[in-house]
């Protein structure tokens, strides 16, 4: 595979991820199948052409076979349908990107593409806010509202900031559509902008940091603030760890920060649930469904119709995912991602300072994506999922580099 073809693929993929949600919402047709079929086919084709340059570790091969086994089991034997197809697609496409596309590109070019896609999302986020606050949101509702199954249309969202400042501006959707996507992506962009500022020291990225934080403030969500705090805390911990001399003075603030953070989170929780006594009931509602599942269903996942009747509350999508994919499916999916993350993290000791910083920031972003997915499935919906795959592909690439180094 040539550098040119790799560039074409990566640019097409970015174009696809940026415009898929908006085109889907506008036409109100589920188009994700195009990308789900097209990109793997193209990448498999190129991998077969370049089969001598395509290196596979034992874990990669085993993982792909386990994914195939699970899909065969769910579809043909257990009659659950293609429940594990999307998870398999995510892992396989990331693997293919890390094995075929990234090695043929310069890392800077690849990271630059990610940067451009995030800046485009931020630009449209600001544009959406300007339109919504001046003209109104009817233009979006009229053209992008869609209630078709599997398509996320433009949604009318409640905006907590509007309540505080007595403005009448609804919550933002972003070009990725849906609730909380804009604020969670703004959290990702702010972390990415910090990384870009650290590596390039361009003032432009201070501007993007401020802009993305402003977007979180103007259209906030409890999850995005939580995720941003987690991201910043991880970055802070990395900074403390990477310093040769530990500054004890700053560490004194850690307990104060923890107390303040916990209090802030508690206050935010009270905004949503005014009565804390509801939590035990809420907790029970989330877990009680598992009591009615058989051991087989717990392991391999339950049928969609059964899940619908079992879980009264759907605040935590991860639990629904456990019910749908089973403990085995969820462990394989998240376990394999965690494995590549740990491998890439281990590899940071053997790479240069810039690569180390890039890997750490991308790992933080992946943690944000994964934690964001615990609450609502916004971070794994069409478009956002593909953005996540770009980060995951980089991590897989770095983990493979560690293998090459160790060899």
């Amino acid at each position: 595979m040539t550098e040119r073809s790799s560039k074409i693929i990566i640019n097409t993929f970015i174009f696809y991820l940026l415009f898929l949600p908006i085109v889907q919402a506008f036409l109100c047709i589920n188009l994700k199948i195009i990308g789900v079929i097209f990109f793997p086919l193209v990448l498999v084709f190129y991998s077969l052409i370049d089969w001598k340059k395509f290196y596979i570790t034992r874990f990669d091969a085993s993982l792909v076979l386990i994914l195939l086994l699970l899909n065969v089991f769910d579809t043909l034997i257990y009659s659950l349908g293609t429940v594990f197809f999307m998870s398999s697609y995510m892992i396989i496409i990331s693997l293919l990107f890390s094995k075929i596309v990234i090695p043929n590109l310069s890392i800077d070019y690849y990271l630059d593409r990610i940067n451009i896609s995030l800046l485009i999302i931020l630009f449209f986020l600001v544009l959406e806010f300007l339109i919504v606050s001046t003209i109104g949101s009817s233009i979006f509702y009229d053209n992008l509202t869609c209630h078709s199954d599997g398509v996320q249309g433009y949604r009318e969202l409640h905006n907590a900031t509007s309540d505080i400042f007595l403005m009448e501006i609804p919550g933002l959707n972003s070009i990725m559509m849906g609730s909380q996507t804009s604020s969670e992506l703004a959290a990702v962009i702010s972390i990415w902008s910090i990384y870009k500022y650290k590596t390039t020291e361009k003032r432009f990225y201070i501007f993007t940091i401020i802009l993305s934080l402003l977007m979180i403030i103007l259209s906030p969500s409890y999850t995005s603030i939580f995720l941003l705090t987690i991201g910043l805390t991880l970055y802070f911990l990395f900074e403390v760890y990477s310093k040769n001399k530990l500054n004890i003075y700053w560490l004194n603030f850690a307990p104060i920060f923890v107390v303040l953070f916990s209090y802030l989170m508690y206050e935010f929780l009270l905004v949503r649930y005014s009565d804390p006594s509801i939590f035990p009931t809420l907790f029970q509602e989330h877990f009680v469904g598992f009591n009615y599942m058989t051991m087989k269903e717990l392991l391999f996942g339950a049928h969609k119709l059964k899940i619908e009747g079992l879980f009264a509350s759907s605040e935590f999508t991860l639990l629904t995912q456990v019910a749908k994919l089973g403990i085995l499916g969820v462990t394989i999916f998240y376990g394999s991602i965690a494995y590549y993350m740990l491998l890439a993290l281990t590899n940071t000791n053997a790479t240069g300072k810039k690569e180390r910083l890039t890997t750490i920031f991308i790992l933080i972003i992946i943690v944000i994506f994964l934690l964001g997915n615990v609450h609502y499935r916004v971070m794994f919906q069409s478009g956002v999922r593909e953005l996540f795959l770009l980060f995951l592909a980089y991590i897989m690439f770095m983990s493979n580099n560690s293998c090459k180094n160790s060899n």
Binding site: W51, R58, S62, L65, F73, L76, I77, N400, N407
Partner: protein
């Protein structure tokens, strides 16, 4: 950790393809004989509603809408568990989603892991429906029967009166010899006799709710594992074989 290129993996795949094909084909044909767990049986049948000769009361009996609703209701299933006792487990059942447009019958599918449970559940279901129908129809049937009895007793009374007037002809006991009666009584006895015939027809016209064909163990078919599941299992075995081969290959490389 060892890395090999795709060409090696593909060579390995090609090398093991004959073995994999043997595993695929042989497991597809042998699995049905050895597979002995997680079986699901099903019974596809239809419920034919109760029929009456007298149209005025037919709407009070169980109809398609009510039967469909009852079969989908959890309370109905609970009531079956209560009436079924502990001898058999209640198997699952549901109204068939396709081809269920006929208003004269309801297509129903029973399924479960035990044939006896399915047979007992199907009979419990139909008995429960019969009970519901009988609660409604018994009032009418009983009233018809009482009316027949009453008519008979009136006719007998008329015959007795005729005897008392000392007509010398022979009277058949249990039958009405109209010749012996006076003109008015003759007419009344004839009317009552005709009415009794009609009522008997009505009583006998009631056909209770039932399945379209009798249910027995032979009516139940194996639903799972079907051909698709056997195919899935054979692919699963083949992939497992290749999984072991690949891991062995990597282990050999390490040495």
């Amino acid at each position: 950790m060892q890395q090999v290129n795709l060409s090696n993996i593909l060579r390995l795949f090609v090398k093991h393809t004959p073995y994999m094909l043997i595993i695929l084909i042989s497991s597809y044909f042998f699995t049905p004989y050895v597979y002995n767990f997680d079986k699901v049986y099903e019974l596809n049948t239809a419920i034919v509603f109760a029929q009456l000769d007298f149209e005025s009361n037919i709407d009070k009996l169980l109809n398609k809408a009510t039967v469909d609703e009852l079969l989908s209701s959890k309370d109905f299933k609970n009531s079956l568990s209560l009436s079924g006792g502990k001898s058999n487990k209640i198997s699952s059942f549901k109204v068939s989603s396709s081809g269920n447009q006929n208003t004269k019958l309801t297509k129903v599918r029973f399924y479960g892991d035990n044939i006896d449970d399915i047979v007992s559940t199907s009979s419990l279901v139909i008995n429960e429906f019969r009970k519901i129908d009988k609660n409604i129809i018994n009032i009418y049937i009983e009233s018809f029967k009482r009316e027949v009895e009453l008519n008979k007793s009136i006719i007998n009374e008329l015959e007795k009166n005729a005897k008392n007037q000392y007509y010398n002809d022979v009277i058949d006991v249990g039958n009405v010899n109209i010749v012996l009666l006076e003109a008015d009584d003759k007419q009344l006895a004839a009317d009552l006799g005709a009415r009794n015939i009609k009522l008997d027809r009505k009583i006998n016209s009631y056909k209770e709710i039932s399945y379209i064909s009798p249910i027995n163990r032979d009516s139940i078919a194996l639903f799972y594992p079907g051909k698709l599941a056997y195919l899935g299992l054979s692919i699963l075995f083949t992939l497992l074989y290749f999984f072991i081969v690949i891991n062995y290959y990597y282990l050999k490389l390490r040495k």
